[in-house]
Subunit: 314 residues, 2 copies
């Protein structure tokens, strides 16, 4: 299996640059003071659709052949990937078919509908999601775009770290959350190439620690009944992602639920930006001393900002 490498990230960046926001890199004197480090936050919460997912989805959709474009794209997702794929497809003039569980939050349904995708609802089980998606793919001939276990998606996600490193220069550590591994595998590819003297470290919730366990066992161990407030990190690591992570990621650490909420609130209060719990996991790892950051220059990728304002954890 050919794995994406840094030349694929560069190609992805050329392709998606006119479509994505070049998100700002923010710093906070007060969080630097608290952590004793120099932190550079790459704000993918300010990306289109409110998450880094738009980068990968764009690269996947705009890399389709003419024949594939005509038949469209499909995926199953209740989260940020659904909205990202729907918007990328609309920008490219490609039909998008999204399978969503019937219990998906209405705000997410509306977003996906708003981008003009065709939604098919199914039972909220993985089996039902997969069988419904297979049906739709068979009927329409649409190309499935997996949220993370996908060559082009991974290359697209690697562009966030590329922009960060190009803007702030070499970093001692690149830190990001890990769920399915799309962001981490892309970040690791870029980090190894552009920042070879630094480390790439990922943070994961204790309650959804399949990546942590897989990384240390050196084999893929799927998630069983994961539970965390970081709803973007419930998925199990993908196979392609894991291969890259095994080769190019330096460490995976875990953080507590309390630490996630505390870090999330700190980002809201001190930086005046809205991040979802999944985004706060990386800062939580610093605050819980899971990563040694003292006097170091650290890049933190904030993955997304989609939260329900009527249902905050604080």
């Amino acid at each position: 299996m050919k794995l994406p490498d840094y030349t694929d990230v560069v190609k992805a960046h050329e392709l998606i640059r006119p479509l994505v926001h070049r998100t700002p890199v923010l710093t906070s004197s007060s969080i630097n003071l608290i952590t004793g480090a120099q932190l550079y936050f790459k704000c993918e919460n300010l990306q289109k659709v409110g998450a880094f997912k738009f980068r990968g989805a764009c690269n996947a959709v705009f890399s389709l052949s003419d024949e594939q474009v005509a038949r469209g794209v499909c995926t199953h997702s209740s989260g940020n990937h659904a909205a990202a794929l729907a918007l990328a497809a609309r920008l490219c003039g490609v039909p998008a078919y999204i399978v969503m569980p019937s219990n998906a939050p209405s705000i997410k349904k509306k977003a996906v509908e708003g981008y003009g995708a065709q939604i098919t609802f199914c039972e909220p089980t993985l089996a039902s999601r997969e069988s419904t998606l297979a049906e739709i793919a068979a009927k329409t001939g649409a190309t499935e775009i997996h949220p993370y276990n996908n060559f082009e998606v991974i290359a697209g996600q690697g562009t966030a770290a590329k922009e960060l490193l190009e803007e702030v220069g070499p970093l001692d550590i690149l830190l990001c959350p890990i769920g399915g591994g799309g962001l981490l595998s892309g970040t690791s590819i870029t980090g190894r190439e552009l920042n070879s003297k630094g480390l790439v470290i990922a943070a994961e919730p204790e309650g959804a620690d399949d990546a942590y366990r897989s990384f240390h066992a050196k084999k893929l161990i799927p998630s069983v009944n994961p539970k965390t407030i970081a709803d973007g990190l419930l998925t199990s690591v993908g196979e392609i992602n894991f291969r890259i992570i095994q080769r190019k990621t330096d460490e995976i650490v875990t953080v507590s639920e309390r630490g996630i909420v505390q870090a999330m609130r700190m980002i809201w209060e001190r930086m005046k930006i809205i991040v979802e719990p999944s985004s706060a996991v990386a800062l939580a790892a610093i605050l819980e001393n899971k990563v040694e950051v003292k006097d170091k220059k650290i890049g933190v990728i904030l993955s997304g900002g989609n939260v329900d304002l009527d249902n905050l954890p604080f």
Copy 2:
């Protein structure tokens, strides 16, 4: 009385550039779609201390003579100016004496204390604030830095519009909120010089419309019992500010309380950034059709992001 002009804004920018954040300019496709305009948001909510106030305070403190530096600065404020002056003074190594009403939110007290300022509490009346400040000024010889009715403060506030125009080019309209008039007078000076073909328009809450009434009556009419959720805009317009506004501002419009909360929530949800109610007043004016924006290129200055997360209006 010599009024600040654009050369003072340029001087201020040279002085404060190393101290302030160059805040990002963000855009939102969805808000553009809703409003039918191209909006460029200058995010002073992401400025140090969470508000544009830091620009003016920095310029005032770093413009002091050596003799003044030794004796320190003072002000009375329960809001963003107190924190801004405290931090600017600390960076300059100047003592800061802040008079705060005893009922100021504890989060604001902590911020000011955290920056190392000496706080004196007083009764929550303007008379008590002014007499307490006069006492402290007499005792310490500290220079009073008024939150807005101050030459250097106005010049400093004008740097936000300068950065915005330098980044996005000519605008049809520059839009900002008006409270005491520090931001609007600075913005108007810059707008007239750098963007002479465009308009400068300010938005004010209906419940605190002294600037609106003063502007249209062509004389300063102080505020009486203002009431609005936009707590940064309760103050009456300053004399120096009003002179500039009369000469260089094109229009002032008012907005409803409901419109402010709606605009605030829209910015949180669509842009994933935290703005305080005062910041949302400018977008509220667009959403309430008080400003004609269709197909126009509009700069909106988001003034600050200091809100109590335990006490949100939605």
